[in-house]
């Protein structure tokens, strides 16, 4: 009997804390557990009893990397409960916030978290000596995303200006135009990112599974829309709980998110490009076409490693879309007034890592009675395990440290955010 173990006790270059344990006996996977050991913080517990006004700033703190997504999902869900329709200007500013966060987060993932694996470095800092201009480009793009978030939201991590029905203050138009110029310059950097992502040697590994994303009739969805999938799902946010649930599957400790009647699914840039690529900007479409010609990579793709290309193509789109929105904005001060109403509200949005769901039940005093939040990584954990189950047999002949790195790469490729998904943890995890 030959036994092989793959063990990573604290996954590096991901956000949050997770471990991986695999035991293979005679070529058969006997045990495969992706553990999230990030301690739960009970957001859905302590939100009960708080005022609706505080919710956006509180849920922002679920995640330091995608605070905007949590804020925007919460704001939309509360507006849904109160029956508020925000103005077009408000929606455009929210889109800019969300897109700026994609630019920051996608750059962070492609260059800082993912690329070092494929280029043979332990971190982006270690890459700096040999890849100076590449790292400089990454820093420049990430700063641009951060500066745009800060211009609209006040600061880059946990922005402050977005509130129910509007913004407490509007960005300075001169600064907006200055950032527009930097966005113009960033177009070539975003395209260079696609070239980099497409040049990485990724495994030839295909695993068809359901891909889910938000779809909007107006745009490549980022702010709102319906939940659609490659298997024909097409539902509104309020219908989410009738179709997507979680279950506990021993021996894994994290809950598994599944589509009722089907199984695991993938959310994130790859799912979005697969489902909504017709709505990408012209430059982003051209970038996709270039990748097809140069590398033979076609979308829809069910190779999870093509997520890096999808993420880079979305960078091109995000830069284009920001310029488009800045060009159509004519900022005017809008008064914010509305009535608090008892009710339930639901929202879905596209965080950098994929589908994010928020819903709240609010009483007539505006106090939260129930909160339900499912983050992109929470959606993806089950699918990561399924990917690993299919992927591990292809690396069994490799030495242990190489096989381990390959498995880590599968997970890092999802750009997981385990702080977000920790409320997902069902049991205390025993660690060796």
């Amino acid at each position: 009997m030959t036994e092989k173990r793959i063990h990573v006790d604290y996954m590096a270059r991901v956000e949050g804390e997770a471990s991986l344990n695999v035991r293979v006996v005679d070529g058969e996977i006997k045990e495969l557990v992706l553990d999230v050991f990030e301690p739960p913080r009970f957001f859905q517990g302590f939100l009960v009893g708080r005022s609706y006004e505080e919710v956006p700033e509180i849920v922002s703190r679920i995640c330091g990397i995608c605070p905007v997504s949590h804020q925007l999902a919460a704001i939309q869900a509360i507006e849904d409960a109160f029956g508020i329709e925000p103005s077009e200007q408000t929606k455009d500013l929210r889109r800019l916030l969300a897109l700026s966060q994609w630019i920051q987060s996608h750059t962070l993932h492609v260059y800082f978290l993912a690329a070092p694996d494929f280029l043979g470095y332990e971190s982006v800092l270690a890459m700096a000596e040999d890849y100076g201009p590449v790292v400089e480009r990454a820093l420049k793009l990430k700063r641009l995303g951060n500066d745009l978030t800060a211009l609209i939201g006040g600061r880059e991590v946990h922005p402050v200006t977005a509130v129910i029905k509007g913004f407490t203050s509007l960005p300075d138009e001169g600064e907006l135009l200055a950032i527009r110029e930097r966005l113009e310059e960033a177009r070539k950097d975003a395209q260079a990112t696609v070239t980099l992502a497409a040049s990485l040697e990724v495994p030839d590994f295909e695993r068809p599974c359901e891909h889910i994303a938000v779809r909007s009739s107006e745009e490549y969805a980022i702010y709102d829309g319906r939940v659609v999938s490659t298997e024909g799902l097409d539902i509104a946010a309020w219908d989410y709980r009738n179709h997507i649930r979680e279950r506990h599957v021993p021996p894994a400790h994290a809950l598994h998110s599944y589509v009722v009647g089907r199984g695991s699914f993938l959310v994130g840039p790859l799912a979005r490009v697969n489902l909504n690529r017709e709505q990408l900007s012209d430059n982003a479409k051209a970038a996709l076409e270039k990748v097809r010609k140069a590398k033979g990579v076609e979308f829809p793709s069910f190779n999870p490693f093509h997520g890096a290309i999808a993420r880079a193509v979305e960078l091109v789109h995000a830069v284009d879309e920001c310029i488009k929105i800045i060009d159509r904005l004519e900022l005017v001060e809008e008064p914010i007034s509305y009535q608090i109403k008892a009710g339930e509200g639901f929202a879905v949005t596209e965080a950098p890592r994929g589908l994010l769901y928020h819903s709240y039940r609010i009483n007539d005093q505006g106090i939260i009675e129930e909160a339900d939040i499912v983050s992109p990584t929470a959606h993806n954990v089950y699918n990561m395990e399924e990917d690993l189950r299919a992927f591990i047999p292809t690396v069994l002949d490799l030495p242990d440290d190489e096989a381990t790195l390959k498995c880590e790469t599968v997970i890092r490729n999802y750009d997981p955010c385990f702080s977000c998904s920790a409320h997902f943890l069902k049991m205390r995890i025993e660690r060796e």
Binding site: P39, F42, G45, G64, F112, L125, E156, S169, S419
Partner: protein, 253 residues
């Protein structure tokens, strides 16, 4: 000069303060040139064991394992720094501290037999702390200044005064007096440049208590604005409810 060894540890948190380190884009490569960033799991795969010269701890302490991890970090680091309001005071996770633990947990999990979570506290509840970098998230400017001062062997400048001082310096309209918004600025530590009041929003108290604040008077002023008791309590028990200063605001009612 040998490069000081830096470690960045994560407890219960959103990773936003660690991200602020990576958000120092203009200085990041320079920093990496003068510091040996030897333990930073979110950014690196090869992480060296201690001892370290400076350890930054992000996050609140919410379980036994974290207490053990924190105590190891204290032993390993010459200087231990609380990075952000969670590590300083318990932060947002400490919002659960004023309800029975089981009640809060029950709203999230069906089976509580395996949940083992304590009340959320800042790290100085368990170990001595050498410096506090406040804020949710931590201020990048203060972080860079702290690192520079430490490298130069100088005492870092960490603001003792309240947000009101920065608000006046910024010539902002007072949201409390002019817009009658319940602003936490008078009792909250400066260092954010009065970020929220400058954008027409009341200070939320995310940087925790300033030196020698008067929370009792502020709680009374909130009452005069027409706020009810639970509204006032929610304001004091958000980022730093576990501090004696903000608890005084609650007790004043």
């Amino acid at each position: 000069m040998t490069q000081p060894k830096i470690a960045i540890f994560k407890l219960s948190s959103c990773a936003g303060c660690q991200l602020e380190v990576l958000n120092l884009e203009p200085y990041l490569l320079q920093l990496a040139g003068v510091l040996d960033i030897s333990y930073f799991v979110m950014a690196k795969r090869d992480n060296a064991p201690g001892p370290y010269d400076i350890g930054f701890v992000e996050g609140a302490v919410t379980c036994g394992e974290e207490i053990a991890k924190l105590k190891r970090a204290r032993k390993d680091c010459k200087v231990l720094v609380a990075l952000g309001s969670c590590a300083c005071y318990g932060g947002i996770p400490s919002m659960k501290n004023w309800e029975p633990q089981r009640e809060v947990e029950k709203r999230v999990y069906e089976d509580l037999s395996a949940i083992e979570s304590t009340k959320a506290f800042g790290i100085d509840q368990y170990v001595p702390v050498d410096a506090y970098l406040k804020g949710c998230p931590v201020s990048k400017e203060e972080l860079v200044n702290f690192i520079k001062s430490t490298l130069l062997g100088m005492r870092p400048y960490l603001r003792p005064h309240s947000v009101c001082v920065e608000c006046k310096l910024g010539e902002n309209v007072c949201v409390f007096l002019s817009h009658r918004e319940p602003c936490m600025g008078p009792v909250t530590t400066a260092g954010c440049g009065a970020l929220c009041p400058a954008r027409g929003k009341a200070c939320d108290g995310c940087r925790g208590p300033a030196n020698d604040p008067n929370p009792v008077s502020l709680a009374e002023a909130f009452k005069e604005l027409g706020l009810h008791r639970p509204d006032i309590i929610r304001r004091f028990r958000k980022y730093a409810g576990a501090t004696l200063e903000f608890e005084k605001g609650v007790e004043a009612l």
